[in-house]
């Protein structure tokens, strides 16, 4: 279970509070969506969960399976099961996708006290998972994300997620930059990872992603805290009425 309690976060470099008392619980096996206007703090929440530098947690805590992950380094969080699918996946020129995937997979396995995969074992797993996501293995021989289309980058993120077998998946605007077909492939990939052991936090601007990845709950994030929580119908309501009432409330 993910428990975020009264999380308060400000940017380290400027005196600006982004999250001001965010409280949220995501039980295992559930998918929760976080929706909200620009500047609400959605990406900040994702980055703070993954452990990016530059954010100062001034109060509150984040527990994953009872463990406070805020004290952990990013790689320790990955080993603990946290995975962030980036809104803008990074390009790594000169490092083949397969090399990166194998390095990451084995690093995480090592962190979890599992044995590293041999090359044939790794290849067998990666081929299967790539095929599920309609990723050509040739694409993985190219440098990580270099020259990839928006859809290819997002599929590559979901493949990383599938390989690392996280238990807490945070998807930051995974629908941005996707056309309808790519959206379906990516959503299918995410849905395939839904399991009773896994909690997912899906961050999005738009309701349309939630037609494909149907959430158990929808939270509205505005003004640095959760303003409302409801079922999937809340997303449809937001699509009609917008965030104005929540931002008004926040201000």
């Amino acid at each position: 279970m993910l428990e975020i309690k009264n999380l308060q976060v400000r940017l380290e470099d400027e005196d600006k509070t982004i999250l001001s008392g965010l409280t949220l619980t995501v039980p295992k096996g559930e998918v929760h969506a976080i929706m909200g206007p620009n500047g609400a703090g959605k990406s900040t929440l994702a980055y703070v969960l993954a452990g990016r530098a530059g954010y100062q947690v001034t109060d509150g805590e984040v527990l994953w399976n009872g463990e406070n992950i805020l004290d952990m380094e990013p790689e320790e969080r990955a080993a603990a099961g946290v995975f962030l699918a980036f809104q803008y996946p990074m390009e790594i020129p000169g490092v083949a996708g397969l090399t990166f995937l194998r390095t990451a997979t084995n690093a995480v396995r090592k962190g979890r006290g599992q044995s590293e995969l041999t090359t044939p074992e790794f290849m067998r797993v990666v081929k299967q998972k790539a095929a599920d996501l309609k990723i050509d293995i040739a694409m993985l021989k190219r440098p990580v994300n270099v020259g990839f289309s928006g859809g290819e980058k997002k599929r590559s993120e979901i493949l990383q997620m599938a390989m690392l077998e996280p238990t807490l998946c945070v998807l930051d605007e995974t629908d941005s930059g996707l056309d309808i077909d790519a959206l379906r492939v990516v959503s299918d990939g995410v849905n395939a990872l839904r399991s009773p052991d896994r909690a997912m936090l899906v961050i999005t601007h738009y309701q349309r992603l939630l037609n494909h990845i149907v959430p158990d709950k929808v939270h509205v994030l505005a003004g640095g805290r959760i303003q409302a929580t409801g079922g999937k119908e809340l997303a449809l309501e937001l699509e009609k009425s917008g965030y104005a009432s929540y931002t008004g409330e926040a201000a």
Binding site: P74, E75, P89, M90, I92, G94, V95, T103, A107, L164
Partner: protein, 441 residues
């Protein structure tokens, strides 16, 4: 204005007088050597007031001159196993090889027969007894960025490889320069490589040391590439850490030939790589690239001049420097496009990855264009490791050190990708990784 000679300059002049009688070659060669040392004596070691040496003040850096490695009688004292060990994965490449130990061609360690009769390889010392060869090759063409280093090479060269390739070769030729590194020595070698028309060939030059004693290396390779030929030329400099490595490549490219040079440097306290390229016919293509990985107070200077005197030629340069501690990387790249050289296509890029606060990168691109219908460009970047990229890797479970290593590899890989032979590129990547591993301990 006359300047007081430095201790090193004095010593070089004195040493020449002492060893001149023992240096190989016919009388004409001896005369050329005397001319060369006279020219050197006049100008001395290059210094920062000479524009091409602005960032590498050799006169200040070279505190002393080591005794030239002449007539040391060493051929029997070195075995291949010891050399293979320092060469690492380079020793496993399937190649024909020439081995020079302290500047002397050692036939017992060399193996060139596999290249067949269409490749003639002769020790330079022997070639210097040939009147025709001596007449043509003892004095190399003058290059714009330097006279002194080439003059010293002419004065002191002891040996090297004289190579003539008239048919395509299935295996690369690996010229391995080994410094025994038991005593401080000055080692001067010269390679003269002539590649015929319609030939494909790969030449690798390695510089390694068995011991840790410093060397002052002065290596000059003069290579002429025939029409429509495709030549790969790779240099790997892994000399002892206290060494001074002075290297000169003079490249002449004929019409429609394709020449791809690559220089990889991790060794020596001070290294200067001078490269001069000129085109002899239309349609020539040249790519000169390289990577240097430096730490401590290492200093590596690459100064190249590419001259386009004829139309329709292409030149590409990509140099990457990884700099740690107080290391200093220098890149000076000059492209000259003469008035006749219309439709020249030249692009140049120098990039540094700075791993510390105290390292330094000096990049000086120069375009000298006299033609009016050309495409020429240059660029330089200087950056630290991108923290967002480190975070991306760490969020995938990769520990910070490993993430930084991966990003450095990624940076270098773009340069190594210029090496078309996958086996050689793999070995270069492995050497870069060894450097990273060493860096982390």
């Amino acid at each position: 204005m006359s300047i007081q000679k430095t201790k090193a300059e004095e010593a070089i002049s004195t040493q020449f007088v002492a060893v001149a009688g023992q240096l190989p070659g016919i009388d004409a060669v001896a005369r050329s050597r005397k001319h060369a040392i006279a020219a050197f004596n006049k100008d001395g070691l290059p210094h920062r007031r000479i524009e091409a040496w602005k960032y590498t003040d050799l006169r200040v850096a070279m505190k002393s001159a080591f005794e030239p490695a002449v007539n040391l009688g060493i051929s029997n004292h070195t075995d291949w196993q010891a050399i293979a060990e320092v060469l690492g994965p380079f020793a496993d490449l399937d190649v024909a090889r020439v081995v020079l130990v302290d500047g002397v061609y050692v036939p017992e360690l060399s193996a060139v027969e596999i290249l067949g009769g269409d490749v003639q390889i002769m020790p330079l010392a022997a070639a210097l007894s040939d009147e025709c060869f001596a007449d043509m090759h003892v004095r190399p063409p003058r290059i714009e960025q330097d006279h002194a280093i080439a003059e010293l090479n002419t004065a002191f060269m002891t040996d090297g490889a004289a190579v003539q390739i008239s048919q395509s070769t299935s295996k690369p030729l690996h010229i391995i320069n080994v410094a025994r590194g038991t005593d401080e020595r000055m080692i001067a070698t010269r390679n003269v490589i002539s590649v015929g028309d319609d030939v494909e060939a790969t030449i690798i030059e390695s510089f390694v040391a068995l011991g840790s004693a410093a060397t002052q290396t002065n290596a000059l390779t003069h290579i002429a590439v025939g029409e429509r030929s495709h030549v790969h030329h790779i240099k790997v400099q892994e000399e002892a850490m206290a060494s001074t490595h002075l290297s000169t490549w003079i490249v002449e490219v004929s019409g429609e030939a394709n020449y791809r040079g690559f220089q990889f440097s991790t060794g020596a306290a001070l290294s200067r790589n001078q490269i001069s390229v000129s085109y002899g016919g239309e349609g020539g293509k040249v790519d000169i690239s390289g990577a240097y990985l430096l730490a401590d107070r290492q200093h590596c200077d690459t100064t190249l001049v590419v001259e386009h005197p004829v139309p329709n030629c292409e030149s590409r340069e990509l140099f990457k420097a990884v700099l740690d501690d107080e290391a200093r990387g220098v890149f000076q790249g000059k492209v000259i496009v003469r008035a006749e050289a219309q439709k020249t296509d030249g692009k140049q890029m120098a990039q540094a990855l700075m791993l510390s606060e105290a390292c330094e990168f000096d990049s000086k691109p120069e375009l000298e264009i006299y033609a009016d219908d050309v495409v020429c460009g240059h660029g330089a970047t200087c950056a630290e490791i991108d923290p967002d990229l480190v975070f991306y890797c760490r969020s995938r479970g990769i520990p910070e050190d490993q993430a930084r290593g991966l990003i450095i590899q990624s940076f270098i890989a773009e340069a190594i990708a210029k090496v078309e032979d996958p086996a050689i590129a793999d070995v270069l990547s492995a050497r870069a990784n060894s450097w990273l591993e060493r860096d982390r301990t």
